[in-house]
């Protein structure tokens, strides 16, 4: 039975998401703007942004928490998905741009483009753009992962070259010749599927969609990691050579997990862009990808729910702190990196479940379930 694969934190997580899908739109649409219960529209978009980050964190946890691949370039997949969505939104502007060109986006008119570059074709059609949101990050991740895992680039080396990848993409997207808006990126969006992006209803709908996507991403990741396939992933994380000697083609497993994870990150980016209204090359910055890693570490790697929780918590703290004390944010973020790695290696959720588990174990004394290797124990063998 598929549903039996969802553990207790998972049910709580899905319940919270379902509740958010009901309560947030209700409090936004059905209460008067002055009322104490009213959730302003900007806050709905802000929460939607957090949830998009949560999808990114979840995708990263899938590869880092379960497969031991620390990708420092997941921001690239996120941004690529975002760009695919951004291209669709740009084409929807039509003749409403500053220059009123029905085909070419404003920045192309400005840069004297005569016709649409070939890779822009098709993006005016939503299903095509939606497929590209999955395909572009997916193909990049597959090619990159297949090359890297086949030549057994692991651990730190992999982290460094994923970082180099996102850095190279950032430099590339900053170029005006790329035909993707250069420095300024893509912005000034008007419609999505015929609905005004700025409208209250659209924003609420985008929030609900993001929450649903997060739930779906969680289910996919959960089923992947609890299946036989997931067991092999965990085996690779804990002792890759041994798994290889047992006859598993570890590179294939890793490449597949990496590709699925990149596609999730792409979806996260595609949901993020219409809610914040802009996508530019700074999304590729290596610092962004590293920040996503800390969300996972804070929430607890290898727990899925924890990753999403970490993303929301850290970003909420960021919003609060950058508003109240802008100077303190980097201190706090830096300290978070140090404190979490030193004192909370299992993250918030990992530590919580461990505490609860050990208390219950004392009460009932059942043996540990087979295959339920706590990440910490597994760590000793791997050393990464």
């Amino acid at each position: 039975m598929l549903l039996s694969r969802i553990d207790k934190p998972g049910w709580i997580f899905l319940g919270v998401l379902a509740l958010a899908c009901l309560v947030v739109p209700a409090l936004n649409l059905m209460t008067a703007p002055g009322s104490a219960l009213h959730v302003p529209t900007y806050a709905v978009s802000l929460m939607g942004k957090y949830l998009a980050y949560a999808i990114l964190a979840l995708s990263l946890d899938l590869v880092w928490g379960y497969c031991g691949i620390l990708s420092l370039g997941h921001g690239a997949f996120f941004a690529l998905g975002g760009y695919a969505m951004g291209m669709y939104l740009m084409r929807q502007i039509g003749p409403r741009g500053v220059y009123g060109n029905p085909i070419l986006p404003d920045f192309m008119v400005f840069l004297n483009y005569k016709s649409l570059p070939w890779y822009w074709h098709g993006f005016d059609w939503f299903p095509f753009a939606a497929v590209m949101v999955l395909l572009v990050p997916g193909i990049l991740a597959f090619v990159f992962g297949w090359l890297a895992f086949r030549s057994r680039v692991t651990g730190v080396y992999l982290s460094i070259i994923t970082q180099a990848m996102t850095f190279a993409l950032m430099l590339a997207f900053f170029r005006n010749d790329m035909g993707l808006g250069g420095n300024n990126g893509l912005t000034d969006f008007k419609d999505i599927l015929g609905f005004n992006v700025q409208a209250q209803g659209t924003r609420v709908a985008l929030f609900v969609l993001t929450a649903l996507a997060l739930a779906l991403a969680y289910l996919v990741a959960r089923f992947m990691t609890t299946s036989a396939f997931g067991k092999v992933l965990i085996a690779i994380r804990d002792a890759e050579s041994r798994t290889r000697f047992l006859g598993y083609r570890t590179a294939h497993y890793k490449a597949l997990a990496f590709t699925v994870s990149a596609m999730m990150a792409g979806v996260a980016g595609a949901l993020y862009v219409p809610q914040v209204g802009i996508i530019n090359p700074s999304e590729f910055a290596p610092a962004n990808s590293i920040e996503a890693v800390i969300w996972v570490a804070v929430g607890g790697r290898g727990t899925l729910v924890g990753a999403a929780l970490g993303a929301v918590l850290v970003n909420y703290a960021k919003t609060l702190l950058t508003g109240a004390m802008p100077d303190a944010w980097l201190f706090a973020l830096g300290a978070l990196f140090v404190v979490v790695t030193l004192f909370l290696p299992k993250g918030i959720l990992g530590t919580l479940t461990e505490r609860l588990g050990s208390r219950r174990a004392k009460a009932r004394l059942p043996g540990p379930k087979p295959g339920d290797i706590p990440p910490a124990l597994a760590e000793e063998g791997r050393g990464s």
């Binding site: 651990g155 730190v156 973020l333």
Partner: protein, 533 residues
């Protein structure tokens, strides 16, 4: 009252001019030139300018300058020339004051202006200062002024300064080639002279050879063109290689500390860039202190800053190792995250103390300026950085290979437990090795403060490059780091002309990513039987 003043002024000026211009008035050999200038036909004016320049008239300079500034007037009736200077008008030949009746300005167009410049250049050919003569000769060379030939010959006859003489000869050669109907033998010699000059100007002259030249001259010119082109291509390559070496030594400086912490110890130190930044800020502080207390010592600011930067960055490194990193040995990915956090804290700390803006670090006198090496312009600053990078490299190698500390470091990294059994205090060696790597990064910061903006983000720009250099060169191998840094630097500079700076960098990143697929342990991997986990 005002009229009185003007009258007085005119009277005074007249008196002054008359006394001053008396000897000049005696000279009348340039009358023809003056007459041609007093015209409204541009070609007449041009001819007049050339005639005046070679006439040897001492007032020629003043007249030509007045013409260039639209202050030269003429009277069409009697061809009189006058110079307007503010409110006063004086006769160009005699210097006597004249009335403004019937005078109108001599017209000037671009062709005339060029002629004036060339003529002024001719006048300068005989200037007492050798540098002025050289500049003037170059101007004639560029203008290929046939009319200047007599002046050039005159100047060459009395020239004593070697470099000015060469410039004059080149100018003469250019003029000879441009002069219609000059003899073949002269032209061949001229082609030779110009070919030896070997720059783009010379190329232009040889390519634009006038149509009436003999075939032998044209062949010589064609040979000259190809010789110059070959030479220029070679120079461009040498120049690129030098820029590449210069960039490579910057990369080497940035990466070499990391070659210790990451390469030898295996610590992923993302705060490495911030150690470089701390070194740069130490330089800034030293310079500020010297500026305030002892400005005379300014040239010593960098030698003073180097050991201080080493100590500051090294101490911070040891502190980080003792408080954070030692708890994370054996967990490289966690180390990566923790040191990234430390880098954020250090950045923000520096930003809070010194502000987010760039701080100015000055260049000592021996690092500013440039010198010319066989046509290659080399700035002293770059040269010193290359020398410094190599010195740091050699020093680090000596520390690791020739000191007891280096021996212990290598022992600990090769076999920690055996080293401990031999009585080496491994935790201290860890701390000091990390301190050494950080200190070297700080020393690099002193050099990088000379070529980069000293801002809290200084280190961020180098961290990815540094890691790629170390990984590309092969972990645990200082020579690999050297080769990788220079290779990447030179490759970058050779790609730049074809691909542009940004695309060149992207291509290199892609190349390194692919290279690591092929050789996951870098160019010079340590050979051993250890299988990765």
């Amino acid at each position: 009252m005002r009229r009185c003043l003007v009258l007085l002024l005119v009277a005074w000026c007249t008196a002054w001019c008359v006394t001053w211009a008396l000897p000049a008035a005696a000279q009348t050999g340039s009358d023809a030139a003056y007459a041609r200038l007093a015209s409204d036909s541009y070609s007449d004016i041009e001819a007049g300018i050339a005639a005046l320049a070679t006439s040897g008239d001492p007032k020629a300079g003043a007249v030509l300058r007045a013409l260039a500034e639209n202050r030269l007037l003429y009277r069409p009736d009697d061809k009189a020339l006058a110079i307007k200077d503010g409110a006063t008008v004086t006769d160009a030949r005699t210097g006597a004051a004249v009335g403004p009746d019937g005078l109108k300005p001599v017209r000037v167009n671009n062709r005339v202006r060029r002629a004036i410049d060339a003529a002024l250049g001719t006048l300068n050919l005989l200037a007492p200062d050798a540098a002025t003569r050289r500049t003037a000769a170059d101007a004639v060379f560029k203008a290929r002024d046939v009319a200047a030939l007599p002046a050039l010959d005159a100047a060459l006859a009395r020239e004593t300064d070697a470099s000015a003489k060469r410039s004059l000869q080149e100018a003469r050669a250019a003029a000879l080639l441009a002069k219609p109907g000059s003899p073949e033998i002269d032209r061949l010699a001229a082609v030779d002279t110009i070919q030896n000059r070997g720059d783009s100007e010379a190329l232009g002259i040889l390519r634009g050879l006038s149509g009436d030249a003999a075939s032998s001259v044209r062949d010589a010119a064609a040979r000259g063109v190809s010789a110059i082109e070959t030479r220029q291509a070679l120079m461009a390559n040498v120049q690129n290689a030098w820029y590449g070496v210069s960039l490579g030594s910057v990369l080497l400086l940035a990466a070499i500390g990391l070659a210790i912490t990451f390469g030898v110890m295996g610590i992923i130190n993302m705060a490495h860039g911030e150690m470089v930044m701390l070194g740069a800020y130490t330089t800034y502080l030293v310079q500020e202190l010297i500026r305030q207390r002892a400005p005379g010592l300014f040239d010593w600011s960098l030698p003073i800053a180097i050991p201080l930067a080493f100590l500051v960055a090294g101490a911070v490194g040891i502190l980080i190792e003792r408080t954070v990193i030692r708890h994370l040995y054996g967990r490289p990915l966690e180390t990566l995250l923790a040191t990234w956090g430390i880098s954020l804290i250090l950045q923000q700390a520096v930003r809070s103390v010194f502000g987010p803006t760039n701080r100015e670090v000055g260049a000592p006198s021996y690092m500013s300026g440039a010198f010319d090496l066989f046509g290659l312009s080399i700035t002293w600053g770059r040269l010193w950085i290359v020398v410094f990078a190599m010195a740091v490299f050699v020093a680090l190698n000596l520390i690791l290979k020739a000191t007891s500390f280096g021996l212990k470091t290598r022992a600990v990294t090769q076999n920690r437990r055996m080293a401990a059994a031999m009585g080496i205090r491994t935790p201290w060696i860890d701390a000091f090795t990390f301190g050494l790597g950080s200190g070297i990064a700080g020393v690099a910061g002193v050099a990088l403060s000379q070529i980069d903006n000293v801002s809290p983000n200084l280190g961020q720009g180098y961290i990815i490059d540094s890691f790629l250099v170390v990984v590309f060169g092969g972990v645990g191998n200082l020579w690999g780091t050297l080769v990788a840094a220079l290779t990447l630097g030179v490759a970058n500079k050779f790609l730049e002309p074809y691909a542009g700076a940004v695309l060149g960098k992207i291509l290199l990143l892609v190349f390194i990513i692919l290279f690591i697929q092929k050789r996951p342990r870098g160019l010079f991997a340590l050979k051993g039987r250890a299988v990765e986990a």
